[in-house]
C-alpha cells in the first residue's frame, strides 16, 4: 500500500492535478498546478514549500555516536558542532559512493541523519559494540522545506530564531504549540530552510507556514520543479547521477567521491589519521590520481542548438523538464552533425534541462579528467527527427546557479 506523509491531508487539498509519483513508498506530488515551471519560479523569485518527509531519518545517540559517524561518513563529523549540520556521503570499502544525506548534530551525543534509502542495518553493523543507539525515526517527523528568497521573511513571522541561522545551522524552536527543528538547509540551491516537526503536529505547522506565506505568493512545489532547481544547483541525485555501489552490478555504474564532484569533502583525507569506511581506497585514488571521471557542468551552445532546430524545420525547443535519460558527450574533434561514433566518447551527461533563470540548456555531466577544465568544448549527443546528432556544448564549473543569498550571513 502506498503511504502518505504527515502533510498530505492539507497538501493534497492544494493539489489541483492529482499527479503523484512514488517516492520511497510515499505519494509525492509531481506538481500541484498545471504549471510546474511556475512552482519553480516561486522558489527562484518568492517562496515555495516542498514535502520532503519521505526521506529516511535515523536518530543516533550515545557516548560513541560521534565515533560511529566519524568512522562511517566521508566528512569528518568531529568538525560539526552542535547546532550545525553537514551534507555528507558514505562509501563502501572500495571507496565507491553508496549514498548521501544530511547529518544534524543536536548535542555531543545526539545526531539525526537523513538518507534517501534504508540504511539502518549498515550503520548497525558498523556500530558493533560501540555505546550507541540507532533508531529509525522516519515516520515520527514530517519535514517541510521552505525555499526561496522570501523563505526567511515568511518564517520570521513564526520563528524569530530564523534570523540567526547561518548556512547549515539549525535550532529547536516553536511554531505555535509545536516543537520544531528549523535548519537552513535544502535541495534547491537557494536561500531556504527545512522545518522538521512531529507527525501529529505537521498539519498545524504547515497551516501556519501557508498563512504566513500567503502575502508572499508562497506556493507548494512538486518533484518536477525540484528537479529543475537541483540541477541548476549542481546537486546530484542517487540513481540519476550515480548508482548506490551496494546495488550496482558493474564498476562502470559506480563512482568515487572525487568522481562525483565531492572532492571538496576529502580535505584532510590524504594526510589525516581518521579511519572511515573506504578511506584507504580513496587515499590511493588521490595519491595515484586514478580517478576515471570528473563531474562538471555542461552548457549547450545556444546558437548551435538553435541552428540545429531551424535546419530541421522545427521550432527551437527549450524544455525545462529534465531529460529522463543520459546523453553521451563526445570530444569536440569528433565530426559535428553525424555519426555518434563511440571512439570519441569522453563522458556523459546525467541530467540535462533548459534553465529558465540561466536561459541556457545546462546539465550535470561526468567527463574524462582531461576534459574537466571549465570551458572545454565538447559535443553532446541529441536526437532530432529520429536521427542521432550532436550539438556543441562546453564544460563549466558547478553549481550553475548560485545566488549570494543562499549562503549569505544573516
Amino acid at each position: 500500500m502506498i503511504r502518505t506523509t504527515p502533510f498530505h491531508p492539507r497538501l493534497s487539498e492544494l493539489n489541483t492535478e492529482g499527479l503523484y509519483t512514488h517516492w520511497q513508498g510515499h505519494l509525492s506530488p509531481l506538481r500541484y498546478t498545471h504549471a510546474p515551471k511556475h512552482e519553480y519560479f516561486a522558489v527562484r523569485n518568492s517562496v515555495g514549500v516542498f514535502d520532503t518527509s519521505p526521506l529516511y531519518k535515523y536518530r543516533i545517540t550515545g557516548p560513541d555516536a560521534e565515533r560511529l559517524l566519524a568512522g562511517a561518513l566521508v566528512r569528518d563529523i568531529r568538525s560539526c558542532r552542535p547546532g550545525k549540520a553537514q551534507y555528507t556521503i558514505w562509501c563502501d570499502d572500495r571507496g565507491f559512493v553508496m549514498e548521501d544525506g544530511v547529518v544534524f548534530r543536536h548535542s555531543e551525543s545526539d545526531f539525526l541523519l537523513t538518507a534517501a534509502r534504508p540504511n539502518l542495518a549498515w550503520f548497525q553493523a558498523l556500530a558493533g559494540s560501540l555505546r550507541v543507539s540507532l533508531e529509525d525515526v522516519s515516520d515520527d517527523h514530517g519535514i517541510l522545506a521552505v525555499q526561496g528568497p522570501r523563505s526567511r521573511a515568511v518564517l520570521r513571522e513564526l520563528v524569530p530564531e530564523v534570523e540567526r541561522l547561518g548556512f547549515f545551522d539549525h535550532t529547536v524552536a516553536k511554531v505555535g504549540s509545536a516543537a520544531v527543528t528549523l535548519s537552513r538547509t535544502g535541495y534547491t540551491g537557494d536561500l531556504g530552510y527545512e522545518v522538521s516537526v512531529d507527525a501529529d503536529q505537521a498539519v498545524e505547522v504547515l497551516d501556519a507556514v501557508l498563512d504566513a506565506g500567503r502575502a508572499h505568493s508562497l506556493r507548494p512545489f512538486g518533484e518536477e520543479a525540484l528537479m529543475m532547481l537541483r540541477i541548476e544547483a549542481g546537486l546530484p541525485l542517487v540513481d540519476v547521477e550515480w548508482r548506490n555501489s551496494r546495488v550496482a552490478f558493474s564498476d562502470a555504474e559506480r563512482v568515487t567521491p572525487k568522481e562525483l564532484g565531492m572532492g571538496w569533502m576529502l580535505r584532510g583525507v590524504r594526510d589525516g589519521d581518521r579511519p572511515f569506511v573506504g578511506r584507504d581506497a580513496i587515499r590511493r585514488e588521490l595519491v595515484d590520481g586514478t580517478s576515471r571521471w570528473a563531474t562538471v557542468g555542461v552548457v549547450v551552445d545556444w546558437a548551435d542548438w538553435d541552428r540545429l532546430h531551424r535546419a530541421a524545420g522545427l521550432l527551437t525547443v527549450k524544455d525545462e523538464h529534465p531529460l529522463p535519460y543520459e546523453s553521451v558527450l563526445y570530444s569536440d574533434s569528433a565530426d559535428s552533425g553525424d555519426s555518434a561514433d563511440s571512439v570519441d566518447q569522453i563522458g556523459y551527461a546525467t541530467s540535462l534541462m533548459y534553465s529558465p533563470v540561466l536561459q541556457r540548456h545546462v546539465g550535470l555531466a561526468r567527463v574524462r579528467p582531461a576534459f574537466a577544465e571549465p570551458g572545454t568544448p565538447v559535443r553532446l549527443e541529441t536526437s532530432l527527427l529520429h536521427h542521432n546528432t550532436t550539438v556543441a556544448a562546453s564544460t563549466t564549473s558547478l553549481p550553475h546557479f548560485n545566488p549570494a543569498r543562499k549562503t549569505a550571513k544573516p
Partner: protein, 541 residues
Amino acid sequence: MTTSDRTTSEAAAAGTAAYDAIVVGAGHNGLVNGAYLAKAGLRTLILERRHLVGGAAITEERHPGFSFTTFSYALSLLRPEIVQELDLVRHGFMPLMMPSSFHPTGDGDYLLLGDDDAQNVQEIRRHSPHDADAYERYHHDLDRVCQAIQPLFDNAPPDVFGKDPEDQADVKWLLDHLGGVDRKVMHDVVRLLTGSAADWLDDYFENEAVKGFHASSSIIGSKVGPMSPGSALVLLFHKMGQHDGHLGAWAFHKGGNGGFTQVLARAAEAFGAEIRLEAPVSSVLTREGRTQGVVLEDGTELTAPVVVSALDPRRTFLELVDPRELPYDLVDNVSRMKFRGVSAKVNFALDGLPVFPALPDTVDHFGGFLNIGPTLEYMERAFDAAKYGWYSERPFIDAALQSVVDPDMAPPGKHVMSCFVQYAPYELRGSDWESERDRFGDTAQAVLESHFPGFGDLVLHREVVTPLDIERHTGLTEGNIFAGEFLAPQMYFFRPAPGWSRYATPVEGYYQCGSGTHPGGCVIGSPGRLASRRILRDLQR
C-alpha cells in the same frame, strides 16, 4: 570629453572626436544598440533626456512600496539572441513565467488558460466543443506562419530599390526564402498581413468568447478594431515573440519592464558604454552631409563620427536634423506616417486582490494577462468611439497584477495592477486630456468594478497615463506605443519610409535604431541590434 577650445567640426575632422558613436535616447533600443557598439569596441555614449533609462519600458515607485510599470508591462518579443549576445543573465535578466491567461466572458463565466495544452483544450471545449480542436489547429497554423516569417523578422529588410549586387543578393535571399514556404502557410501569411482579426478568427472559431480572447492582441496600440483590415497583422506581430521557446507566450520581467531596461543599462556599461542621464539632445551636427556629433539642449557639443537616433521617425528626421537637408520624399513620407496613439494606462495600487465572483477563493487566475474584452463586438464597439475622436465608454482593458508572480512589486499582501486601456485617441474632439483625465480613469475603473465587484474599495492609488503623457514622457509621437503604427505600408521595407528601412539615413554617419525601424515596436530590441550590425559593417568599409 570635449575640449572646450576646439570646435566640434575641427575635432571631427582631426579624428579626435570624443566618442566613436553617440546614441540619442536610452529607451531599450538605444541601450541595445549602444551595448552592441560598445561590445564591438567603440567608445560609445548614450544620451538620455530623462532622469532614468528605459523610455517606454520603465518601472517607477509611484506610491510608496508599489512599483508601477508606467507604460509597457510585459515581455515576449525580445529576441533571444540579444539575451545571449549581450550576456544579460549575468546582469539580472529574469523573465518570470505567466502561468495563466484570464478572460472573463462578460456573463459571469470566464476562460482560464494555462500551461497545460490538454487542459486548455478542455477549457475551450467547456465553451464550445467545436472550438476545441479548432484551438489546436489555430495555434499550429499560426506557429507555422511565425516560423516562415521569422527570418524576415530577424534580418534587415533587403533594399528592393537598390541596384548594387549586394542589394540584389539580399532580394534573392528573400525570394528564395519565400519560394520555400509551404502554399498554405504563404496564403495564411497574406491573410494575416492584409485581413482583419475577425475574419481570420471566424475561420476557426464559433464561440464569441473564444474569438474575443484571441482577438485581444489584434488591437494593441493600433487605431483598428478587430473587424478592421490590418488588425490581423497586429495579432501576428504579437505572436512573433516567445517565452523560453513557446511562441506567442509572454512573461513579466523581474521588476517590470523597467527591471529589464536596468539590466540592459548594466550590460551596456559593462561593455564600456557611457550613459548620461538628463542630457537631452537638441540636434545632430552635420557638415556637408556628414555627421559631426550632437548638441545638447544646454549647448554642449559632443563629437562623434557616428550618431544613432533611437527616437521615433518624426524626431529622427524632422527634429534632430534639418529636414531641408533631407530628400523631399523621405520628409514627405515621415510627415505622413501614421502614429495616431489610441492607448492609455490606468495603473493601480491595491490593498488586496480583486475578487472575481465565479472564482472567489483562488489566486491562480491572476498569474498573467487579465483580459477585459469579452467579445469581438465588445472590442469593435469600444473602437467606434475612437473613430469619432472620443474614448470608449466601455473600454478594452489588458490588465496584469504583476505582484502576484513578482511579490517584490508591492508590499506583502498588496498588489499593483497595470491596466492598458483602449481606446483613448490622442486627439479628443471638443475636449482635451487634462480635462478628461479623471473621467477617463473613472470609466476604466467602472469596467473593472463590473467584473470585480468591490474593486473600488481596494484602490489605494490610481494613476492615469494618457496618450499625451506617453508622448510627453517618452517622446513617442502622438503617444503611439510602437513609434509608428503597424500598418502594412509602414512595415518591413517601408518602415519608416521606402528606401530607408536599413537603419542608415541620407546623412552619412547618422543612423536610426528606434521602434520606427524594422521590425517595429514592442520591447523587442531588434531595431537596436540590426542597426548596430549595419553601423559596424559600414565602419569596416
